[in-house]
C-alpha cells in the first residue's frame, strides 16, 4: 500500500474541514439562513456552494480525462438515474432535520473537534439514522412513485 493511498483521503478530509469552518458552514445560523425564506434570508450558503460545485465539476472532468487517457479503476460516481419516491422522501426528511437544527453531516463532524455536546449528540443520532433499516424497508415496500 503506497503513501498516496493514505495521504489523499487524509488531505481531502483535512481540506474539506478547513473549507467548511472558514466558509462559515459550521455556524448553524448560516445553514438556517439559507432556508429562512420568511425571516432573514441569507445567501452565504449559496456563496459557498456555487464555487464548490464549479471547482468540483472541473475535478470530475479531470478525473474522467485521466481515466480515459491513463486507465485505472472506475470512478466511484453514482450511475443511478432513477428519480423515485425514496429519493424525494429522503431529501424531504433530510430538509426537516436541516430546518430544525441547521446542521449538515460535514459541519457537524468538523464541530466534533471542539467537543461541543450538541455536536456529539447530533453525530450519534445521525449515525443511528444512517443505519436504521426500517425507514428503508418502509420506503421500498410502499414503492412510492411520483
Amino acid at each position: 500500500m503506497n503513501a498516496a493511498r493514505w495521504l489523499v483521503p487524509a488531505a481531502s478530509g483535512c481540506l474539506l474541514a478547513l473549507a467548511l469552518a472558514f466558509g462559515g458552514l459550521t455556524r448553524p445560523e448560516v445553514v438556517i439562513g439559507w432556508v429562512d425564506w420568511f425571516g432573514r434570508w441569507d445567501l452565504q450558503l449559496l456563496a459557498f456552494f456555487l464555487p464548490a460545485t464549479v471547482v468540483y465539476g472541473l475535478a470530475v472532468r479531470l478525473a474522467r480525462w485521466r481515466l480515459k487517457r491513463f486507465g485505472g479503476p472506475e470512478l466511484g460516481l453514482s450511475t443511478s438515474r432513477n428519480i423515485d419516491g425514496r429519493l424525494v422522501l429522503g431529501a424531504a426528511i433530510f430538509g426537516i432535520g436541516w430546518g430544525i437544527g441547521g446542521a449538515c453531516p460535514g459541519p457537524a463532524l468538523v464541530s466534533l473537534s471542539t467537543g461541543a455536546p450538541w455536536a456529539v449528540v447530533f453525530v450519534a443520532a445521525m449515525v443511528l439514522g444512517l443505519h436504521l433499516r426500517w425507514p428503508v424497508a418502509i420506503a421500498q415496500r410502499e414503492t412510492i412513485s411520483i
Binding site: 470512478l75 460516481l77 453531516p105 445521525m126
Partner: protein, 140 residues
C-alpha cells in the same frame, strides 16, 4: 467576521478538496456515505473512509485552533431537538443516498438530475420545516 470573499474562497477550497479525493482516489466525497460505509463493514474499502474521517477531524481541530470564532459551542436548539434533527438527517441521507455534500456539491457539480431534485427538495422542505419551527415557538 465572514466576508463574502472568504466564503467564496472557502467554497472553492471545498470543491478542490473534494476533487482531490475523486482524482486521487476515485471516490466521491459525500460525507454521509463515507460515514455510513466506515461503520457498516460491508464494504471492502474501509481504510480510506476511516483515514478520510480522521483527516476531517484533524482539519476541524486545526480550524478550531486557528479560528475558534468559526464554531458554535452552545447547542443551536435544545438537545432533544438536536437528537431529532440528527435522526432526520441520518434517515434522510440514507434514503436519498446523499446529503448536502454528496447531492448538493458533487451531484450538482456534474449535473446529476437526481441530485438537482434532492437538493431542491431538501431546500424547500427545510424552508417549510424552519417556518413551522418558528411558527410553533422554536427559537430562530
Amino acid at each position: 467576521m465572514f466576508d463574502s470573499w472568504t466564503t467564496i474562497a472557502a467554497g472553492a477550497l471545498f470543491g478542490a478538496g473534494g476533487g482531490l479525493l475523486l482524482v486521487g482516489s476515485g471516490q466521491t466525497p459525500g460525507i454521509s456515505g463515507i460515514v455510513k460505509g466506515a461503520l457498516s463493514r460491508k464494504h471492502g474499502d474501509l481504510a480510506w473512509r476511516v483515514v478520510f474521517l480522521l483527516g476531517l477531524l484533524l482539519g476541524g481541530r486545526l480550524a478550531w485552533t486557528l479560528a475558534p470564532q468559526a464554531f458554535v459551542l452552545h447547542a443551536p436548539v435544545a438537545l432533544p431537538w438536536v437528537l431529532v434533527s440528527g435522526l432526520c438527517i441520518g434517515v434522510g441521507a440514507r434514503l436519498a443516498n446523499g446529503c448536502t455534500s454528496g447531492h448538493g456539491v458533487c451531484g450538482i457539480g456534474r449535473w446529476s438530475p437526481r441530485s438537482l431534485v434532492a437538493t431542491a427538495t431538501f431546500t424547500v422542505s427545510g424552508a417549510i420545516a424552519h417556518l413551522a419551527w418558528t411558527a410553533f415557538g422554536g427559537a430562530s
